[in-house]
């Protein structure tokens, strides 16, 4: 295998980004995916950071969404208030695809990036929402990066930081949220999507060389895996884009 699993993940997500979309990115692999998408499938997509940078010229990969690298040659350098308003805005928000990550995900694509254990006195504390809850509440659709390890795909989150489909079906509508929600979960082993009606997660694809069991044993809830298909490995061109155009220093890889 001449690519890393993180490269595979970035490519799989990049392929999903549509031309002309506004791509909300966090740090790390989500940024790599958004950068790659501009070279692969979506040359007119716009990279957009919650810190207020729009369409940055990313000559080097930023190590945080506040990295000065996101401020260079932008269409606009605003602030948080502008950025989140653009996502909450009824006209622009629906054109945004958000890329998120989390510590835990449940069958309906809800995310936990706050705590493992009790909220008040957690076993393990994470960063917290940042803009994730906002993005998940506002935008047209989201793509979620997860690590495919035990304890991450759980029946019930320890803390629901960012809304997916809540309790499924029209759960978002009932809670007062807009349409939207996760479209795709990308891990280091597989890809998951959500049933159109029930909004429950199913296995949609698995990577070359990954056995089905490796996936299923990490998922703590009932999972439909009958629709799963093999996902093609990154092409040479895709890898070249990642390595030469997006992250030549290998900071994310």
């Amino acid at each position: 295998m001449d690519y890393t699993l993180r490269e595979m993940m970035a490519v799989v997500a990049a392929r999903e980004i549509r031309d002309g979309e506004i791509v909300f990115c966090g740090t790390g692999i989500s940024m790599l995916a958004a950068m790659a998408a501009k070279h692969i499938s979506a040359p007119r997509s716009v990279i957009f950071f919650e810190t207020g940078a729009i369409d940055s010229r990313l000559e080097e990969i930023p190590l945080a969404v506040a990295d000065s690298r996101v401020m260079y040659h932008t269409a606009l350098n605003g602030g948080l208030a502008d950025a989140f308003a653009t996502m909450q805005n009824r006209f622009t928000g629906s054109r945004v695809v958000g890329i998120l990550g989390a510590a835990q995900i449940d069958p309906y694509g809800n995310l936990n990036s706050t705590v493992i254990g009790d909220y008040d006195r957690p076993q393990r504390r994470f960063s917290g929402s940042g803009g994730a809850c906002d993005v998940a509440s506002f935008v047209g659709r989201t793509i979620i990066f997860m690590r495919q390890v035990k304890g991450r795909f759980v029946e019930k989150l320890d803390y629901l930081t960012s809304p997916g489909y809540l309790d499924g079906r029209d759960g978002r509508r009932r809670a007062g949220l807009r349409p939207g929600g996760p479209e795709l979960v990308v891990t280091d082993k597989a890809v998951f999507r959500f049933d159109e009606k029930t909004k429950r997660m199913y296995l949609a694809g698995y990577y070359p060389g990954i056995a089905m069991d490796e996936i299923l044993e990490t998922v703590d809830f009932d999972l439909d895996y009958n629709q799963a298909v093999p996902i093609p490995a990154p092409t040479g061109k895709e890898l070249l884009i990642l390595r030469e155009k997006c992250d030549p220093q290998g900071l994310i890889r």
């Binding site: 000065s68 260079y72 605003g78 994470f126 809850c133 509440s137 220093q249």
Partner: protein, 325 residues
Amino acid sequence: MSDPDKCMTMAEAVGRFIKPGCHLSIGGFTLNRNPMAAVYEIIRQRIDNLHLYAHSNGQGVDELIGAGCVRAIEIAYGGTGRFAPTCIRFRRAVESGQIHFEDYSNYHMTLRFMAGAMGVPFLPTVSGLGTDIIRKWGFSPEFREAESRLPREKLLVIDNPFRRQDDDPPKVVLLPAINPDVTILHVQKASHRGTVRISGLTFADVEQARAARHLIVSCEELVEEDDLRREPDGNQLPFFQVDAVVLQPYGAYPTACYGCYDYDPEYLNRYRQLAGDDDTFQDYLDEYVYGVENHEQLCRLVGPDRLRQIKAVKPQGYAAGLDRR
């Protein structure tokens, strides 16, 4: 133009405006434009029991918590990008029950500062409906009751009273305003009078500044008021909102200051290592914070070579090609 000169040293500014127990917010975001010179001075002056309001003010918040200055924090994100996906001393303080904390989203915190800046008791959003950010409150009822400056409710969900169309939001979340005693910013340029110009992203600095009773601004460069007024469209804060101006080159170090210098990967990597353990963190503080008298001395301690490496280039505004592993 005859306003009193607001210039003072960081020691004076911190000593005069930041008191134990004070409600504080700092500018910047994760690893950029944190007012680190002020943060280190607060630690050196051993000002404690601070009530911090933070969105994603990574490095500065983590060091204040680590040094024991913070009693309670309202926060959206405790992380410093790739250098600490979760801020290390923040994580430890929460896990060990050393601080009171309460979670919001970044937009929630931004709206809370905006509300304070605008002089309204709350601002609405549709963010967070159905989540534990709304259901789970971090501060206990007793803590809220005792802290008379906090709102009684973390936030409130109400029916949208203007709903008419099906696609109008049925509910909204109201976020209560924040009015810190003091906000501290680090910026590229300010005048003696206090007019402020920030280059690059402004994050939530302007809202944080306007929400506060007092505002301390440290700057890379002290410029003539007239210089700033030649292009007033680029200025963010008028002089009458500023209480203290501190000329503080490298005042955001080890975080970045767009157009001036980058973050220092070496410092931040070392910080991560040392912060991971209580003893080595104490060593870190002893050497880098208590062991120096002021920020100039810290800069001398890390040395001119390091500062040269992180110097920003034009037109990028960061240190192109910097080794950031």
